[in-house]
Structure formats: C-alpha cells, structure tokens
C-alpha cells in the first residue's frame, strides 16, 4: 500500500526538480508548440528531434533519474509497440510488401501499412517525451495559476484544484481499503475480486460525498462565497527560454519541409 505509485512519483519530481520554480508559461509554450508541430507535420525527423531535446532537458536540466524516465516511457511504449505492429501487419492498401498464403486466404502486408506503423511509433515517442517534460518539471499549482492567467474559465480551474487535492486523499483511502481486503482474501477468485472492487467503489463513493460536505462546511467557515480566489504569484517567463523555443520550432519547421517525404504515409 505504501509502495511508490506513478502519480506520487511524478508529483514529487514535479515539485522538487531544479526547474520546478521556473515559469510554467515558458514550459507550456515549449511543450505545446513542439507537440503541435510533432503531430501536424509528416516528417519523421521532427519527432526524433523533439524526443532528443526533451530527453536532454529531462535528464540534464531537470535531473530526473534516467531509470525513472525509462520506467515512465516503457509502459506506453509497450502498448504503442503492440498497436503499431498491428497497424503495420493488418492495415494498409495499394502496394504490397509481402503476401503470406494461408489455407483460406492470402494475408497481404502493405507497404503503406508498415510506413504508417513506423511513423506512428516515432511520432508518439516524440510527443510522449515532450509531454513528460511538462509533467515532470511543472508543479500542478503553477499550471492552475497559469491557466487562470490565460483566462481559462475560473470555474474550470476551481473544480480542477479541488480534484487535484482530493485525488491524493482518495487514492490513499483506496489503497488502504484494497490492502484491508487483500488481508482478508478479497481477491482469492475472479468473482470475489469483482465484488471487492464493487464494495470499495461504493464505500469510496459515500466517503467522497461526505468529504465533499465536510470540505464545503470547512470552506464556508472561512468565508467561501462560491468563488475560490488564489494568490497569483508566478515566476516571470524567461526571455532566453522563449527565444530558444521559437528558434527550435523554426528549425523543426525547416527540417520538416526537407524531410517530409522520408516516410510517405
């Protein structure tokens, strides 16, 4: 129950890494622009460039242990690998790459299926590492404040910050309940396990609602009037980082123009 969990580890890194105090705007600008370029342009070089730059930033600027970065990448990569193999082997049309005669039909592997599989794999790896940079270096609070600054509707930000806080409370409760059930053999069979999860969800639901009422009471006791106000102090965006991002994005655009035909989808 107290073993490390992905959300806890990510959250801890986000709050303790050397970049946690730098401006969320800079990081959001870099990540969002790189993501958009990554998924919008057909070149396979672009995602690879994004991947390498993100990896360098994560490992050397944010000093995230390489083992953790690899662990974070490995799970989605496994899923992705499977999906891309399926795409490569079962999708596509036009020019055939190979034909496998099977007793009842001929299984055709298409060239564009394979290229799509490979392109997708590279694109997702690039986008993921870029997302991880944001996730591992930016404390959630800063994201909330940043969102409020850029005029995201207040109600959205308010609900989000309450959700963020209570996710941690409820995950802890859920883990305790899961352990308690495990200790009384609540997952000794498939059916028992389904029932156990039903019981946990039901209880968790009641506890969530009660927590909601108590939190509301506590908020009222401090003068809540329907609006959650925040102190909005944020570090100033670094000009150098913004310029570097613009430069990097321009290079990506240039590169993509010259390499767009490397993998034709």
């Amino acid at each position: 129950m107290t073993e490390g969990h992905l959300h806890e580890e990510i959250d801890r890194h986000a709050h303790t890494n050397p970049l946690s105090k730098s401006s969320p705007f800079t990081k959001l600008f870099f990540v969002l622009s790189a993501l958009v370029i990554c998924v919008s342009l057909p070149s396979p070089i672009v995602p690879l460039a994004v991947l390498s730059v993100s990896a360098v930033l994560i490992l050397f600027m944010a000093r995230i242990p390489i083992s953790f970065f690899v662990k974070m990448l490995s799970y989605p990569t496994a899923m992705l690998g499977l999906s891309c193999i399926i795409i490569a082997l079962f999708f596509g049309d036009g020019e055939a790459l190979a034909e496998v005669p099977l007793p009842w039909f001929t299984w055709t592997i298409f060239k564009n299926g394979v290229t799509t599989g490979i392109a997708t794999f590279i694109r997702v790896e690039g986008a993921l590492s870029c997302l991880f940079f944001l996730v591992l270096t930016t404390p959630m609070t800063n994201i909330f404040v940043a969102l409020r600054r850029i005029r995201i509707p207040a109600v959205l930000v308010e609900v989000s910050l309450l959700i963020y806080r209570y996710i941690f409370v409820f995950i802890e409760i859920t883990e305790k309940m899961t352990t308690a059930q495990e200790l009384r053999f609540g997952n000794s069979s498939w059916l028992t396990k389904i029932r156990s999860i039903g019981l946990i969800s039901g209880n968790l639901f009641i506890r969530t609602m009660e927590q909601g009422e108590r939190t509301l009471t506590a908020m009222n006791a401090r003068g809540y009037d329907g609006t959650i106000r925040m102190l909005e102090d944020l570090p100033k965006p670094s000009k150098a980082a913004l310029v570097a991002t613009v430069l990097f994005d321009s290079i990506l655009l240039l590169v993509s123009i010259y390499s767009k035909d490397l993998l034709v989808v």
Partner: protein, 307 residues
C-alpha cells in the same frame, strides 16, 4: 461587551430527527480558554458548529458580542472572520494545492489586497512554524504539520475567537505538546479566546480555565477543571474518566485512607505539591504549581522568527 459568546437555551434537531443538542446555555468571557468535554457523540461538534453560524439552532439563540447572531450571508462573513474554526481532520480543511494558497483562502475571501494577504499568510505560517513548507502541497505533510497549517489558515483571518475540534486527536506526544503550547501562546500573547472540544481528560487541566461537560446533547455540568474533576461520580456517569494523576490521589484517599486534600490535584505540578505536603516537606519556595510541565519546556518547539 466582554462576552463574545452567550448561548441561550440552544437546541438543535437534525433533519433525520436526532436531537443533537438540547437546551444548552453557555457563556464565554473575552480571552477565556474553555474546554467542552464529552465522550464521542455527545454533541460537542454540533455545538461548535453553532458558534460560527454553520448550524442554526432549531430553538434558542446564539449571541455574539452582545448581539444575536444573524444568518444573512453578510453577517455570517463578518462572524466567520471574527470566529475561526479548526476542524478535527485537517484533510477536511486543506483543499488548496499548496500550503500558501490554502492559508490565503480566508483572507482573500475577506477581500484584502494581495499584498496584505501575503503579509498575514507569512505571519500565520511563521506563528505555527510552517513557513518553510509554504510551497508544498498538503499531501507532502505529516498529520501534525497539516493540523498546524489548518490552524494557520484560521489565524490568517486574525480572529478574536478560535474554535478547535479535538485539537490533539491522532497526534503523538510531541505534536500534542506543540499544538498545546501554540494555543496557550496565542491565548496569552494575543488574548485570543479559545474553545476546544475534546475527550482528552489529561490535557484539559493543562489548558482550560473553564469546562463544560456535555453528555447526550446536554450540558451536565460547568465549572473549573478543579471543581468538576473533584466530582468523580459525575465524571464517570458520563463515560469519562479523571486525569490519571487525579485518579491516583483519589485511590489513595478512598482505598488507602491517605489524607489527600479534598480538591484532588489535576496536573503534575499540583500532584507534586500534594505529595510534598503529605511528606511534610513542602518548601515555600517551590515554583508555580499549575503551569504546564512539559518534557520539552527547555526546547521551545515552535519556530518564530520574531522571537
């Protein structure tokens, strides 16, 4: 007026029909430290929730500062600024993503300027010794730390009265001692009136000037800790017990016929004097008796930049 709170025959019935409070009359002088003592389910929390208008009496009246409490949202905001409430479970109270944001919530609701808010938040965090955790999310803190942040969130509104529900529950000895010292300091240095609900009988004599004993929604007795804990019959009838120190002397008097003073000692200081008196070597120069004797009294546990 010198009486922040006066409750007049307050009863409260929940919508499910339970009569949680029955005919409670209670008063408080400015600067007083009051403990509501009662077993679980005796109505302590319900009573507290009437003091800042979270609950409205079904019958009876709550007076604050000489005027009956009004329940318009404007009047309630003012009441809640002046009467701070610290909940038993700090997880109910800490909802913001960082300690600083949470402590700032109250002052921001009062419409103070950002600069002013920043100042009071800083000061409140300093007072409870949590300044260095300002940027941390609450889930990084220990239970005792969360409790202190919850108190800071209330202090930042600069209240005249602080209400705390079970301030020492779930805290280890050090955490208990820290919060107790903090409360005593607030009471002495800032003349903040305090009302605690608790079932920690050993803690009460160290803290309270005056005591209300609650049972099944009724006030069964009122008085100084000394007066009430001498009535062991009463204490037991409501499923409480005497402080352990008191119990020792009660046994000595009743079972062993030792000529212990009628007014049983409640604290270690008082017990010490009593033993010395019994041993016939009471020295006149013995230092103050009813003071909190803490194992950490030479190591003030609370950081405070201002000294």
């Amino acid at each position: 007026m010198d009486m922040p709170f006066y409750l007049e025959n307050v009863s409260h019935r929940y919508s499910d029909g339970t009569l949680a409070l029955e005919d409670v009359t209670m008063s408080m002088k400015r600067g007083e430290r009051i403990a509501l003592l009662g077993p679980n389910g005796s109505g302590k929390t319900t009573l507290l929730l009437h003091l800042n208008g979270i609950l409205k009496p079904t019958s009876g009246k709550v007076h604050f500062d000489g005027k009956p409490v009004e329940y318009s949202s404007k009047a309630l905001l003012e009441l809640r600024r002046r009467v701070g409430f610290v909940f038993q479970d700090p997880n109910d109270q800490l909802f913001a993503p960082t300690v600083r944001q949470d402590v700032a919530f109250g002052p921001l609701n009062l419409g103070q300027s950002a600069q002013e808010v920043r100042r009071v938040v800083e000061e409140a965090l300093d007072t409870v010794g949590m300044a260095e955790y300002a940027e941390k999310p609450p889930h990084f803190l220990s239970f005792g730390q969360k409790k202190r942040v919850a108190l800071a969130g209330v202090l930042a509104m600069q209240p005249e009265v602080i209400i705390m529900d079970e301030p020492t529950s779930n805290l280890d000895p050090r955490g208990t001692s820290e919060i107790l010292h903090l409360l005593l300091r607030l009471s002495r240095e800032r003349r903040i009136s305090l009302i605690l609900a608790t079932h920690d009988v050993d803690m009460v004599p160290l803290f309270a000037d005056r005591l209300y004993i609650l049972n099944k929604g009724r006030v069964v007795s009122e008085g100084t800790p000394r007066e009430l804990f001498s009535d062991t019959q009463l204490i037991r009838s409501v499923n409480l017990r005497s402080p352990r120190i008191t119990h020792l002397f009660e046994v000595l008097r009743k079972e062993d016929g030792v000529p212990v003073d009628e007014r049983l000692p409640l604290t270690i200081g008082e017990a010490r004097r009593e033993v010395l008196r019994l041993l016939g070597i009471l020295q006149d120069d013995l230092t103050g008796g009813s003071e909190v004797v803490s194992p950490w009294r030479h190591h003030p546990p609370i950081k405070n930049k201002r000294g």
